[in-house]
């Protein structure tokens, strides 16, 4: 589904990604771990199309198409979703208005008709229930006055509504208490299928107790320095990142 080849990216002459190689297939869950400043969030931003980053080398292929040529919205239309570490507050635009706009613009981008109002409403009810969100959420301004946990739940709610092929969860566990973590993870697990894939970017093992990865990668200094199965996450939890740093010194 997603093939990243020797990806190098910089921001304001500061080289952050120094040759990433990664292949993700439908049905898989990948975890990307690593110490602060290793390039985890940069990688997710570059996949989603943030324009602040300049890709200097390499390629990202998504279902046979070169992603780097596409605008962020076009990537979303193809089925890429990024759950933000810091979701943006948009006062004056309700969650329901926002998600409706996002869904119908995505459908338009794919040449589909807008979703029927009734279907939209039913879906909003179903997905907000999945994330144990009160109905009043839908009429609140997007992320405005939301707690950290509410913001993250709202991200996964949007993911549930948009049904992406590839979902990247950037530090979705940060700022969550254990109950919110369980709800968010449960939401993500319910959305998993053989046709979609999930990339979990995290600093800690904690979230991976709930969302079980098939593969774990360690990102350090802009490169994937180690890949393995779920046991690698446990090892990192026990030993920290110092041995990784030492191995790559």
């Amino acid at each position: 589904m997603l093939k990243i080849k020797d990806l190098k990216a910089q921001i304001e002459d500061n080289q952050i990604l120094k040759g990433i190689n990664l292949e993700i297939n439908a049905g898989e869950v990948h975890a990307i771990m690593g110490p602060n400043g290793s390039g985890k969030s940069t990688l997710s931003s570059v996949i989603a199309g943030r324009e602040d980053y300049e890709v200097t080398d390499g390629a990202i292929d998504f279902d046979g198409e070169d992603l780097l040529d596409l605008d962020p919205e076009e990537r979303a239309h193809k089925g890429i979703f990024l759950s933000f570490q810091y979701p943006v507050e948009i006062p004056g635009v309700t969650v329901s208005n926002f998600i409706k706009t996002a869904i119908n613009e995505s459908r338009k981008g794919r040449g589909q008709e807008p979703m029927e109002a009734r279907e939209m409403l039913a879906k909003m009810r179903e997905k907000s229930a999945l994330l144990e969100m009160d109905k009043s959420y839908l009429s609140r301004s997007l992320n405005e006055g939301f707690s950290g946990g509410e913001k993250k739940r709202n991200e996964i709610f949007q993911m549930a509504m948009l049904e992406p092929k590839l979902a990247i969860l950037d530090e979705t566990d940060s700022g969550l208490d254990i109950d919110a973590l369980r709800i968010v993870a449960n939401g993500v697990n319910k959305l998993r299928s053989k046709d979609n894939a999930v990339v979990v970017i995290t600093h800690y093992q904690r979230l991976l107790d709930y969302i079980k990865p098939d593969y774990v990668h360690v990102l350090y200094q802009g490169k994937i320095v180690k890949s393995g199965g779920p046991e690698l996450a446990h090892e990192l939890e026990e030993r920290g990142y110092d041995w990784i740093k030492a191995e790559n010194a």
């Binding site: 989603a48 239309h77 006062p91 995505s106 949007q158 948009l162």
Partner: protein, 439 residues
């Protein structure tokens, strides 16, 4: 002296004795003195500090008719869209400055919601006590209005009364007079612990240019609560100078919201005089204008007593070659300790040809106060734009949505849900975005 000033002087001589209230000697003397001051002063030019950024010359050049006729041909169907159709309201409708009783719904029952003309005859003592007491003498447009205005809205809410439904005041201009120079006046008296909500609108429904010089005096007595909303979405050939002056007594709470989406030249002079302790003065607004439009907000809050709060939030969105002006003056007198004054003016320029002049002006003579002010002129937040685009919303729509969010932030204090919805819809339409509000 300009042609228009001369026309005004000669028209005054002709009309003076026929104006409503001309049997009231106090009113007659007020008018004469005001006209004398106008004769001395004439119209302001860009050499006047208060008019530095707004040039009146092009709109005053027009040959306007000053003594106007009403227009019986206007029906309810013509004006329906300018009223809050889904809400029961009192209505005062004026056509070319003349009261239209058949389009209005006034009352004298528990409170007076009627015409200024009627009050001039019916309540000479009230007129004597209040007329001209809020609007300052010596400013050209107020003087001119004092001299000529003999109709408008009269609202008097007695002690402890809460008006059961909002009042809509609609001033319409038709082609009946050719280019028209209209001068009306509101007198709004809200007695102790009384409450009222008012929605006001000036609208040119014809094809001829018009100029409105309008004065509104608002008196909020002890603990009175007033919400006064000004919807300004007039035709491109309409100009308006609105002079609204609010006097507040102890514990009163007054909100004036100004929502400007149209008009060729709109100047709002909005003055608050906080004359008692523990008053709250709220003024906010949204301006969205495009090619060929100028909107100038001049505000003043005069803190004269201790322990008062004022809040001012103006948002502006400028397209095409539009021009915005914001001049916000906050005066804190020596006596006014513990004043808490907040002022913010945020602007977004969506075109390289659009221009904004913004000027906060603080004059503080007390030493124990909290005053903050800020103004911004900028573009949209890149981070937020990326967030929206990453959800599949194309760049142009995302910008529209963000601009909408930026503007609607200033509608927080609108207490009439139907009005808030209407304003949100106008904003969405102006920005070309498609949102559903029936949620």
């Amino acid at each position: 002296m300009t042609d228009l000033a001369q026309d005004l002087l000669s028209s005054f001589l002709v009309a003076e004795s026929q104006l409503n209230g001309s049997r009231n000697l106090g009113v007659v003397s007020l008018r004469k003195k005001a006209m004398d001051r106008f004769e001395q002063q004439g119209f302001p030019t860009t050499r006047d500090e208060e008019w530095k950024y707004t040039n009146l010359k092009p709109v005053l050049k027009q040959d306007y008719r000053i003594l106007l006729k009403g227009d019986d041909a206007v029906s309810f169907a013509d004006i329906k869209k300018y009223l809050l159709s889904d809400l029961d309201t009192y209505k005062l409708v004026f056509i070319n400055g003349k009261y239209s009783s058949w389009l209005s719904e006034s009352t004298h029952q528990s409170f007076d919601i009627c015409t200024f003309a009627a009050a001039l005859n019916k309540y000479p003592e009230v007129i004597g006590d209040y007329l001209g007491k809020a609007a300052p003498e010596g400013t050209t447009f107020v003087d001119l209005n004092t001299a000529f205005a003999d109709d408008g809205a009269f609202v008097r809410i007695k002690r402890n009364q809460t008006v059961d439904k909002p009042i809509e005041i609609l001033y319409l201009t038709t082609d009946e007079n050719g280019p028209a120079f209209a001068q009306n006046r509101n007198l709004i008296i809200v007695e102790q612990n009384a409450e009222v909500q008012i929605v006001e609108r000036h609208q040119n429904i014809g094809t001829q240019p018009n100029f409105t010089n309008f004065v509104s005096e608002v008196f909020a007595a002890i603990d009175a609560r007033v919400s006064y909303y000004k919807v300004q979405n007039d035709a491109l050939h309409a100009s308006l100078v609105d002079n609204t002056h609010v006097v507040q007594e102890r514990g009163s709470n007054v909100h004036v919201g100004t929502y400007t989406f149209g008009g060729k030249l709109v100047r709002n002079n909005l003055h608050f005089y906080a004359d008692g302790e523990h008053t709250e003065s709220h003024m906010d607004g949204v301006t969205i204008i495009d090619d060929g439009q100028t909107v100038d907000h001049h505000t003043l809050v005069d803190h004269r007593e201790p322990n008062c709060y004022s809040r001012e939030l103006y948002k502006g969105i400028y397209l095409g070659n539009s021009h915005g002006v914001f001049n916000g003056k906050v005066m804190v007198r020596q006596k006014a300790q513990k004043t808490n004054a907040f002022q913010q003016n945020d602007n977004i320029l969506l075109s390289e040809r659009a221009k904004v002049d913004t000027k906060p002006q603080l004059e503080i003579f007390a030493d124990d106060v909290k005053c903050s002010h800020g103004c911004t002129i900028g573009q949209l937040d890149k981070n937020a734009l990326f967030y929206l685009r990453s959800r599949g919303i194309p760049k142009k729509e995302a910008e529209g949505l963000m601009t909408y969010a930026f503007a609607s932030d200033a509608l927080e204090y609108v207490k009439i849900p139907q009005l808030e919805k209407r304003l949100n819809r106008v904003i969405a339409d102006k920005l070309g975005i498609n949102l559903e509000f029936a949620l």
